[in-house]
Symmetry: C2
Subunit: 563 residues, 2 copies
């Protein structure tokens, strides 16, 4: 379902209902740019990667956001999904909400989107605007000031002094001697916004009991009865409330997703999460640890399908190193991933034909792949002896003979004979697929997911993945070393230089006194590197003499033994 | 005529012809943003204004450019215009031209454009790319390297060592013993761009006489005969030349306009000129005087219709202070601006219905308004006694009875009777309007234009207009003072503070020892300000004691007397 700006407010209940009722949801986003520093680095530190993503959230914006909810439907034995696609554009939501947002666009990103038939007119003409919490507060503060006539005065330009004096004379004359044909007010012609604002200010400051009202081409200064005054106040209050409601804009959807505390699935989702938080919640903190806390607070249950596909051992023989969303979609369409059946809600017909790379469809694909993978894993780990296919298949009478609509819904046998079939009570067909457990009664992930929740794929770093709740782990890889010292803080520069004799490397700090060194491309044997660097460290002047260097294999063995 | 990216190269001759043949051209541009610092300043210095425009050229880009050429057509007694509309988008012109441009977008600017039905899809999907001279040089340097196989080597990743060794073995085996079924080459499967590049590098460095050719999914390592090798070299050379030609992109049009040295008309054109030069020619210099030289070199004959409408005394009673393009268009459609007649070339039918705020149409309007204004002025100054209307009107037989097409072309009488009318030699109808002189035989502006050429409108500054070739002038306005000293460089801060007792002001430097002080809003009489500030200056400690202060009226009188 596409949600254009013009229908956003009226569609909110539909969106809220989908979030409230679902078992989990998947998200995806398209950006105005993905600019990376023009580096040839093939590996990066965690801190650098986060700094790069954080910088991206300051420059670029999400221009399309997809959310797809998935709800288990017992009677029909399948999941019903509701994919939403939002274009996001920081326009003014109402005439009165003024935002002046600028953002970066990367030509290559638009080139890429144009290859996916991205509709840039829909983006600008129908994109939903948004405010962060801080922006909303500032907006409400200003709007409250306007509501209470408590706006700060502006100085009167010398050029407009004549205008204002003429206006005062006119108003004074009318107050002294109201026009018999229009006893309630006097109209003053204003040529521009500045003159209009001056007239509001005059009415407010000089004329107790008179109000200024903007009209086309002029300002009406009028005396209102108490009743009219109350009515006016009430109208303005209502408009104020409506404006404030509209001001939140798309952030409302993010708030709802966050409040639901449900599982949020993404594919290679770290950058998406950075952008979602930076754009709709608050600017990202400088420190990556602070970001982890913030992200975990906003989305307490995240699952990354790319991470899942890479780190679940059972998937290795199936997917190998191909973990793009397209490939996973293709692989999980195979027979061994038959369960569960997933259909789209009949009110969400946009994706009956595929639209890969539209955020709403990619969210649908991501959530589908997730369900299939977890179901597969559940069967593999919890009931490996079960004969698959037949047992979960419902008993059907020649199901393959039946005609189907394009969307997979079966035609009822009555349909062709009886034109009134739509009025018949619908007989619910059970597809016989089985529900996939995700969270337990305490809203904790089921054991299968425990190991994978709140971790996101992170390529080209020394670490295996980004961990939203714990420190990242490092693997038993031959290009990595552990370094520690007892004599005060460790210097990354110094360590990096020490190791540089064997090639380019990055240093990922663990804590004040220890770090990992990861080579981009190490040709020497780890033990030789260890020996040589240890000697060099001991020999070098002004150095940390008690540097301990371990291969990452030894380091991991030591940890295991100690624990 | 809209020029989409896909037709740009083939339309170049049409564009070149229009520029070559025309008497002058008008331009207009739409931008991705017009962000101004959030200041309440009602007046600004020249240096600040230029700094602000220069900053804008670094952030925002021209996304639509209009050029309309105007050519006097003697036989038909009218001007024929050719309006071109270009969407501009910094995409890659060919697959091989890689640019990674980022630019700022201001949401409000897109909001404004969407009110004018701007087509953002045309912008991204059909926008013409461009390179500055420097970018083009860098591109040609890289392309030449590729052509000559002189690319720098990349290091071989440890992970790919196995791949490369296997590839070498395969190639060596084939060299030793060519495959009988495919004796000319061997195909090596490459999984990614990195592997492909490594294979090119191997072929280049290790195998004399073998070449690598990219194929879908694999690289073919082949031995070419001398003839085939020459053919390949020739093909690559041709592709190289084509790529280099394409790389210039839209800058070619700007280069042609510049080389023509013809009059370039704009409306409120200073910002347009800043952007055109900054985006297509070279980054703007820091100093405004350097910018003037650069701009004058690129466009030696500029005329700003906004400036013209404001400063030509004859237009004061006609236009007053309303000098927007829409208003000027409306006013110059009146009877006194009848001459000359302006039609669009029949091959340029896009604007038979109006499309205000599309750059191509705004350029057409600007050029039309310009012609009408100069013709009016010429008549007013050079033949004021002439009875207008009748004398320039041609003798026509009941012209108003004739049927017309929507575009104003008359239907020939034959047309309805004779279906072959299109084959008849066209009888040229003379509209009887008169040509407007612009440049003389030495390409110098005619006397009427001398005073207005190379000056651009500049609102909210102490100066009357921006002067591309001379220092700006200041007017006899009561809020302005002249300050000079004989004791070394004048300090703007010091002077501004001295004058601040009478209100906010800006200081516009004239030269090392003199400046203008302009008040935003002065309520005191100029003579009192002069007296008071002179005394304060004399009294203040650490001050310049020989400060001379004049009202701008006295200053201008003094200049006039001295000259």
């Amino acid at each position: 379902m596409e949600i254009p700006r013009q229908q956003f407010i009226q569609r909110l209940p539909t969106i809220k209902k989908a979030i409230d009722e679902c078992d989990f949801m998947a998200i995806d986003a398209e950006f105005s740019g993905l600019h990376r520093p023009g580096t040839s680095k093939r590996i990066d530190t965690l801190a650098n990667r986060y700094a790069e993503y954080r910088e991206a959230t300051k420059r670029f914006i999400i221009i399309q956001f997809g959310m797809c909810t998935f709800k288990w439907d017992g009677p029909s034995g399948r999941y019903i999904s509701k994919p939403f696609n939002f274009y996001i554009f920081p326009t003014a939501m109402t005439g009165k909400v003024q935002a002046n947002k600028t953002f970066m666009t990367q030509a290559q990103a638009f080139d890429f989107l144009s290859k996916q038939q991205f509709d840039f007119n829909k983006w600008v003409y129908q994109g939903v605007p948004y405010m962060t919490l801080e922006e909303e507060k500032a907006y409400i503060r200003d709007a409250t000031q306007r509501l209470n006539d408590a706006m700060p005065d502006i100085p009167i330009d010398e050029k407009e002094r004549g205008f204002i004096e003429a206006a005062r004379k006119e108003i004074d004359a009318w107050v002294a001697n109201p026009n018999p044909e229009d006893a309630e007010g006097v109209n003053i012609i204003a040529k521009n916004a500045y003159q209009r604002r001056l007239l509001y200010q005059e009415a407010r400051n000089r004329y107790e009991g008179l109000v200024a009202e903007g009209k086309p081409g002029f300002i009406r200064i009028a005396r209102l009865s108490e009743k009219d005054m109350n009515k006016r106040t009430e109208e303005r209050r209502k408009q104020f409330e409506k404006d404030c409601e509209g001001a939140t804009g798309f952030r409302r959807v993010i708030d709802w997703i966050s409040e639901s505390k449900k599982i949020v699935v993404g594919h290679n989702m770290l950058l998406d999460i950075c952008h979602v938080i930076g754009q709709f919640v608050e600017p990202l903190p400088e420190d990556v640890q602070d970001f982890k806390k913030l992200a975990h607070r906003v989305f307490p249950n995240m699952i990354d399908t790319k991470h899942l596909s890479t780190y679940v051992p059972e998937f290795q023989p199936l997917f190998g190193s191909s973990t793009s969303l397209d490939i996973l979609r293709f692989e999980t369409n195979k027979a061994e991933f038959k369960n569960p059946r997933i259909d789209m809600d009949w009110e969400f017909p946009r994706y009956l034909t595929e639209k890969a790379h539209e955020a709403g469809y990619d969210a649908f694909m991501t959530g589908s792949v997730f369900l299939k993978m977890v179901s597969f894993l559940d069967k593999a780990r919890n009931s490996p002896e079960e004969v698959p296919e037949e047992e979960v298949e419902p008993v059907e009478e020649e199901p393959k003979e039946k005609e189907k609509y394009d969307d997979g819904w079966e035609k009822s046998d009555d349909e062709e004979q009886d034109p009134n079939w739509l009025n018949e009570p619908e007989e619910i067909y059970n597809h016989g697929s089985t529900k996939v457990d995700l969270l337990d009664d305490q809203q904790k992930p089921v054991p299968i997911l425990e190991e994978y929740i709140n971790k996101a794929a992170m390529v080209r770093t020394g670490f295996e993945y980004f961990n939203f709740v714990n420190p990242e782990v490092i693997t038993r890889q031959s290009n990595t070393f552990y370094v520690s010292t007892n004599s005060g803080p460790i210097s990354c520069d110094y360590v990096s230089k020490l190791f540089e004799v064997f090639g380019k490397n990055v240093v990922d700090v663990i804590d004040e006194t220890s770090a990992f060194v990861v080579y981009e491309n190490l040709r020497e044997k780890p033990d030789i590197v260890k020996e040589s660097v240890t000697q060099a460290a001991a020999a070098s002047a002004g150095a940390i003499h008690d540097l301990t260097i371990k291969t990452v294999g030894d380091y991991l063995d030591d940890i295991q033994r100690d624990s």
